[in-house]
């Protein structure tokens, strides 16, 4: 009989009058990879917190390794032997790999640090897995996949029995993810269990032994491996349709052109994007797109090559002011990075308008007219005096509406669907389409292909910092994109 590592029985969790977890029931066996697809993000972070630590619950019981650790009458606040791996690394960036694995470990009791001993121990751990990472390197110098691997090793070395993996495909490329999944399978043989949180069922079906669907704080379905199929999921998920407009743009001139651009992780890349076109650059190794983002933000100077906007070359020094050149950038998880919570919706919306109008004072008349124009899109929220009470969907609307109003020539979007639940992903697709309808060129920088296909007109594959020789129209995609299933 299979042994359980975690059992959550009839658990309800209410915070500030909101029911985040509603009568949740599920279990994870030892050595199992349990998938969890949150259809909306409601209750997801509360569930993670609950598994990591025995915080108070209103109903139900939680068993960890066959021990009752938390129940409705008494929550001890103790931590379970659970480790969370997500994009925000829990490693100490300014310490070396071996310090992170060995010293910052509950089982380490030496007071004096003996580097040689640490290095030997860490090298042995890595050697077992056939991984070559310099253990003397500082964590900040590692790539995302290396950090994820070190976190995994550290978790196991720390005695974690259950590891929560939060949306790996948001920060690992297809190639990296595939390698990481091999490591997971290796550890399952050592009876380590995983809760694999993922937005896309295609990814979950590949690696998980069972998959649970979470919606509105409830587990609405648990699918066994033998039942994995699109049909079994159809009643629960939304399907997004694609309307390609690429053919209409074939005769237009490129609005943005990269010519032989080289940087640390970019090797002579060439591409152009046209007005109203959506181009996706899929980075197989998760290296080059970070450099593209850094270059357009002025943080990294290109070694050679040119960037032309509307036929004019933009010197790098001027790129720092990319907005003036008509190039906008939406970072990954843009809400906290681009919006100002303490000022009003309208002020946020019109934040860039002074640059557009080249005026430092914007007249009330102009603001009133913008307000009325965008009321149709934003509704009553346009009157909000701050952003604290707005829902995530409204905040995403605001991020994109601001650019619709500014109307740049090109918008680069880094991983637009990262951390978004199914409903939000649907809205982001609509928002990107709105940009395209305004004849704004869109360049999506992605490491995972899912959902971007719903808006993209053309796809470029980047591998080891090089772009594949030819681009691919949407209709060609399924035949060559790794991991893509129609």
């Amino acid at each position: 009989m299979k042994e359980e590592i975690l059992r959550i029985a009839n658990v309800t969790r209410i915070l500030d009058g909101i029911t985040y977890l509603d009568n949740i029931n599920f279990n994870i066996f030892k050595g199992e990879i349990m998938g969890l697809i949150p259809l909306d993000n409601h209750g997801k972070s509360q569930l993670i917190e609950l598994i990591l630590q025995n915080v108070s619950i209103h109903f139900g019981r939680i068993y960890f390794d066959d021990q009752l650790v938390n129940y409705y009458e008494h929550s001890s606040m103790t931590k379970n032997r659970v480790y969370l791996i997500d994009k925000e690394t829990n490693l100490i960036q300014d310490l070396r790999v071996m310090d992170n694995i060995c010293v910052l470990n509950h089982t380490f009791h030496d007071y004096i640090i003996r580097d040689k001993r640490l290095q030997k121990k860490t090298d042995e751990l890595l050697k077992q897995l056939g991984i070559e990472i310099d253990t003397e390197q500082y964590v900040s110098e590692l790539s995302l996949i290396e950090k994820a691997i070190i976190e995994l090793i550290r978790a196991v070395a720390n005695g974690a029995q259950l590891i929560i993996l939060n949306e790996l495909s948001n920060f690992l490329s297809i190639e990296e993810l595939s390698f990481f999944q091999k490591l997971l399978l290796y550890y399952t043989k050592q009876r380590i269990s995983f809760l694999y949180m993922v937005n896309h069922h295609e990814e979950a079906f590949k690696i998980c032994h069972r998959v649970a669907l979470l919606e509105k704080g409830r587990i609405i379905k648990i699918i066994q491996e033998k039942d994995y199929s699109e049909a079994s999921l159809r009643p629960y998920i939304l399907s997004f349709t694609h309307h390609s407009v690429a053919d209409e743009q074939n005769n237009q001139a490129g609005i943005l052109k990269y010519q032989n651009l080289c940087a640390e992780n970019l090797k002579k890349i060439n591409f152009l994007v046209k007005k109203g076109e959506c181009l996706t650059i899929l980075d197989m190794n998760n290296r080059g797109i970070q450099d593209i983002a850094e270059i357009i933000n002025g943080f990294l100077p290109p070694v050679s090559g040119k960037i032309l906007v509307g036929g004019k070359e933009i010197p790098w020094a001027k790129e720092r002011n990319l907005l003036l050149n008509g190039v906008a950038y939406i970072p990954e998880n843009p809400v906290p990075k681009t919006l100002f919570y303490d000022i009003s919706y309208l002020e946020n919306l019109t934040f860039l308008i002074d640059r557009k109008l080249k005026r430092s004072i914007i007249g009330k008349k102009v603001l009133r007219s913008i307000k009325e124009e965008y009321r149709a899109l934003a509704g009553a929220e346009i009157e909000a005096t701050d952003l604290w009470r707005l829902e995530m969907k409204s905040l995403y609307n605001l991020v994109y509406f601001r650019l619709l109003l500014y109307k740049p020539k090109v918008v680069f979007i880094m991983q637009p669907f990262s951390q978004a639940d199914m409903y939000l992903r649907g809205r982001i697709i609509e928002l990107i389409k709105m940009l395209k309808e305004k004849e704004i060129a869109v360049v999506i920088l992605a490491v995972s292909i899912s959902d971007t296909l719903k808006v993209t007109d053309r796809l470029l594959i980047m591998e080891d910092g090089k772009l594949a020789p030819s681009s691919h129209q949407f209709k060609d995609l399924p035949s060559f994109v790794p991991g893509y299933q129609e």
Binding site: L91, D94, L129, G465
Partner: protein, 348 residues
Amino acid sequence: MENEKKRNKLKRLLAKRGMGQVITVTIGLVGLIIVFGLLNPIFLSARNISNLLRQIAPTLLTGIGQSFVLITGNIDLSIGSVVGMSCMISATLMTKGINPWVAVIITYLASSIMGLLNGKLISKAKLPAFIATLGTMTIARGIAQIVNNNYNTDSIGEAAEGFMQFFYYGKTLGLFNTIWITMFIWLVFNFLLSRTRTGRHLYAVGSNIHAAHLSGVNISSTITKAYLVSAFCSTTVGLIITATSGMGTMDAGNSYELYAVAASVIGGVSTLGGQGILLGTVIGASIWGVLQNGLQFAGAPVAIRNIVIGVIVIITVLLDIVVRLNKKVGKAKAGAERSYFPVLKHKI
């Protein structure tokens, strides 16, 4: 084989975080020494160098304390006042006839209370470091004033001769004791920072407090330790000042917290926490001392000296930023030329 080992050791030393800045400022320091030596040959005389080292000692000691605190991502503004408080407490006790060594122990204990208070206010009461240490700065200065009824003390007398010799006037192996004391303290704290678990925890807290907490690091205790080190160093400086002047002065240590920040920052300790080494603080404090001493020899008035030092602080930090940016560009160039090699040679 032996050569390769040596080369690896050197490579490891150079790869140490913060070493880049240390090398940059060391070059600057050598440049300053050459310039001042050329302007006035007395600058490089053995006597002046010995005096210079003794002059650098207080800045270095307070710099060590400030570096510990900065590495945890905090700041200690109470350093100067703790110096003043230590000076006044020790001198007052000695003038009241208490054995100087007992007075030294009492002074260390009194100052460690300030360190403890700083640490707990920041880590337990969650007060911003700037505010908490601003408060203790005023408190410590108040204690310095109240301890002898708002007067500087009289001379600490002949009974304290041994104390004065130990902390300031005495020499061992041809070097002033102040320099030996500073070197000893530096060695101990450098070992603590670079070779012990506490050291790793200090960096961890400054680098990512959330991750450090998740890794089982006791945040409160780690921050408190940093402030205790700072208080210990400040107290030692206070005792050196008492030994120097042979009396307690209420204004002792004024602005020392700023000198300490300058020594640390010039030496590459990040004000954002998590980065820096004590070797850098040595160089930072030396630059500070060489500028003071060298400009004095060059006949520059105090006002000009202050302006020059301020400008040099800005230039050094600016230089560090430029070096880091160039490093990034260099890395970019190297990356564009090299081909990727697989980091992961998995066998699973």
